[in-house]
């Protein structure tokens, strides 16, 4: 039987049982729509995270104090809240002197209540120097950023993240106002542009920045850093800069055995790789859940096709009597199953993409402005491939049942 005839025959068969065909298709439509929706949202989230990390700065490396367990992507001890005091100003000074490094800055964090007028919110404050803002590519939307003079003279000044400014001051002008932080009065000198998350996953928009000297000495009473950020010199490769930083830290910390490193040097690429692998696994996980509904849909197809084979026993007998071979009958029923699942797949793709677009409209308007609509071609091809394969796999059994029918018995079937 020619493919064209097979398609026509299968379509006619489906047309004669429209309602049943549509209900059968529904399982596949829902399954494929779920896969497309979750993959689309997952890709949008992945794109958002990666673009925000990339926006932080180019040629960026960072040092996290503490050793890692297991692979190089395992989190260091400091990530679990263990205080590591090994990263000091001396390390930063050595970085600055190295020709492969343009800029270096430490970072410390603390939690405090920020109070202005009747507004009282919990914030994360970051001790920073002027160089810190250059390295991680932060800019002030209003006012100015911190500079070395603020640090040296231990000025009680603060730069607010965009969200903090909104929460404390609303639509009012924040620059020049004083807010209270741990019973100290800080003058607002700048408000940051909207930035999103840092490479560590910290929400920069909900952060406030105070001079490093004030943070270390007056707020926290410490002399070490919780992290260091480095902007490499473009004349050198990232790997070379990483190896220089490693050498400097080992020398400063008197480490001879590399297995006993008490620090981690990571590049922006490392961070992107970690984030990329996390989001990819998440995407696969979500798609796998949706795939279960596809299997259920496939079983539905098989069930209905089996009923259809029984209902059309006489038709099968007739077709065999007039010359259809077993292969012709098998082809006809398989084609019907594949058409059902392929159309279901197409409708599912359109539905899933439509839902994803609505979600994009909602998120970009009400939650994350940088959220983009993503519909990867790979997910469309995958969905089409999966739906067709489901038709093939779950259609084979009923089609075989049909093809094996004895024409005499089939023609006698009541």
């Amino acid at each position: 039987m020619k493919v064209n005839d097979s398609l026509k025959t299968a379509l006619a068969g489906l047309r004669h049982a429209k309602t049943r065909a549509m209900l059968t298709m529904l399982g596949i439509v829902i399954g494929i729509a779920s896969v497309i929706l979750l993959m689309s949202i997952g890709t949008s989230a992945q794109n958002l995270i990666i673009s925000q990390v990339q926006n932080i700065g180019s040629n960026l490396l960072f040092v996290i104090p503490g050793a890692t367990q297991g692979s190089k992507f395992s989190p260091p001890a400091s990530a679990f809240g263990i205080i590591i005091k090994t990263l000091k100003e001396r390390d930063i000074e050595f970085f600055r002197k190295d020709p492969s490094i343009d800029k270096a800055a430490g970072e410390v964090h603390g939690q405090a209540r920020a109070v202005y007028s009747n507004n009282d919110i919990s914030v994360t404050y970051t001790g920073a120097t002027g160089e810190y803002f250059d390295i991680i590519n932060l800019e002030a939307e209003k006012g100015r950023l911190l500079n070395s003079k603020d640090d040296k003279s231990m000025e009680k000044v603060v730069v607010l993240g965009s969200e903090v400014a909104k929460k404390l001051f609303g639509e009012k002008e924040a620059i020049g106002k004083n807010l209270r932080l741990k019973n100290n009065s800080f003058k607002v000198i700048g408000v940051m542009e909207k930035k999103g998350m840092s490479a560590f996953g910290a929400d920069l928009d909900n952060n406030i920045f105070i001079p490093m000297s004030v943070a270390q000495k007056q707020m926290l009473g410490i002399d070490y850093y919780s992290a260091a950020f480095i902007q490499g010199n473009n004349s050198y490769s990232i790997d070379f800069i990483k190896s220089r930083m490693t050498s400097i830290l080992r020398q400063n910390h008197s480490i001879t055995n590399p297995d006993k490193d008490d620090f981690n040097v990571r590049t922006q690429e490392d961070a992107l790789a970690v984030l990329g692998s996390i989001t990819s696994v998440l995407k696969i996980f979500l798609a796998s859940i949706a795939a279960i509904s596809l299997v259920v849909g496939g079983i539905g197809i098989m069930n209905i096709m089996l009923v259809s084979v029984i209902e059309r026993t006489r038709e099968i007998g007739l077709r065999k009597a007039v010359g259809a071979t077993n292969a012709d009958i098998m082809q006809q029923f398989l084609t019907e199953a594949i058409i059902l699942t392929s159309i279901g797949g197409l409708v599912g793709i359109i539905g899933g993409a439509g839902f994803s677009f609505l979600i994009y409209l909602g998120i970009s308007k009400f939650a994350v402005a940088d959220w983009t609509f993503a519909l990867p071609l790979s997910s469309i091809l995958l969905a089409l491939g999966v739906s067709t394969t489901i038709g093939l796999v779950f259609g084979i059994y009923p089609a075989r049942q049909a093809s094996r029918k004895n024409p005499v018995e089939a023609l006698r079937y009541e």
């Binding site: 006619a12 007039v322 010359g323 259809a324 071979t325 012709d328 004895n406």
Partner: protein
């Protein structure tokens, strides 16, 4: 030529063996009109199924225009059915929700005839049974007589050598039944071999030869005229 030599057919059901045909032998020449008669259970349907390649004999030899059934696989049998045989059934066996055209076209879907040549063949077959004005009507909406004419058009469309008719008038009123038999008679006069299974003497009279079966064996094989004029009594 159809040559049947000592074919037997037995069935086994829950350990019980039924012998439907017992060493039946005969020859049918091209262009003959043969009626097969016999009481219920005599084996006439079993014989028709074997002759039309829809069932296989348990033993014996069957040659259809030089092609031995026992040497052929299921696909080859299907191809012979498609090219050389046409079928008319008592229950019409039409696709009720398909048009007359689609029903008549059915055997061509499984043939090697090019799609471009199909239309004229289908239209000619429909014209031959006088149903041109019903070409695009759903088969399920036709009267019994019209349905059987569609079935005959379907049996003719491939221009087969042999037409097998299994009680073709069984579901029709006498007028429609006669009409159908006249069509079959004309087809025979045009050179087609007709093998008709019937239990009606009136219908058998349209044939030239009669094979009467009883208990799976040939009771009598001769001309219709001779057998019916002698009012042959079953043994």
């Amino acid at each position: 030529m159809i040559l049947v030599e000592k074919i037997s057919r037995s069935y086994e059901n829950d350990g019980d063996k039924t012998q439907a045909l017992k060493e039946v032998s005969f020859k049918i020449n091209s262009g003959e009109f043969v009626a097969v008669m016999g009481p219920s259970g005599s084996g006439k349907s079993t014989l028709l199924h074997i002759l039309s390649f829809m069932d296989r004999a348990s033993s014996g030899s069957y040659s259809f225009f030089g092609e031995k059934m026992e040497d052929m696989n299921d696909t080859e049998l299907a191809n012979v059915r498609n090219k050389e045989m046409g079928f008319v059934f008592q229950a019409f066996n039409l696709l009720g929700r398909s048009s007359v055209y689609q029903n008549v076209e059915l055997p061509l879907l499984y043939s090697t005839i090019l799609p471009s040549e199909r239309k004229s063949l289908v239209e000619k077959a429909i014209k031959d049974v006088g149903l041109t004005e019903k070409t695009y009507v759903e088969a399920g909406r036709l009267s019994g007589g019209q349905k059987q004419r569609v079935a005959i058009a379907r049996a003719l469309v491939n221009n087969p050598n042999v037409i097998f008719a299994d009680e073709p008038t069984g579901n029709l009123d006498s007028h429609s039944g006669e009409n159908i038999m006249q069509i079959l008679k004309k087809l025979n006069e045009a050179g087609k071999t007709i093998i008709l299974v019937t239990h009606e003497t009136y219908t058998a009279q349209f044939a030239e030869r009669l094979i009467r079966l009883k208990d799976g064996e040939i009771e009598v094989d001769g001309t219709v005229k001779d057998i019916l004029s002698k009012n042959y009594e079953s043994k």
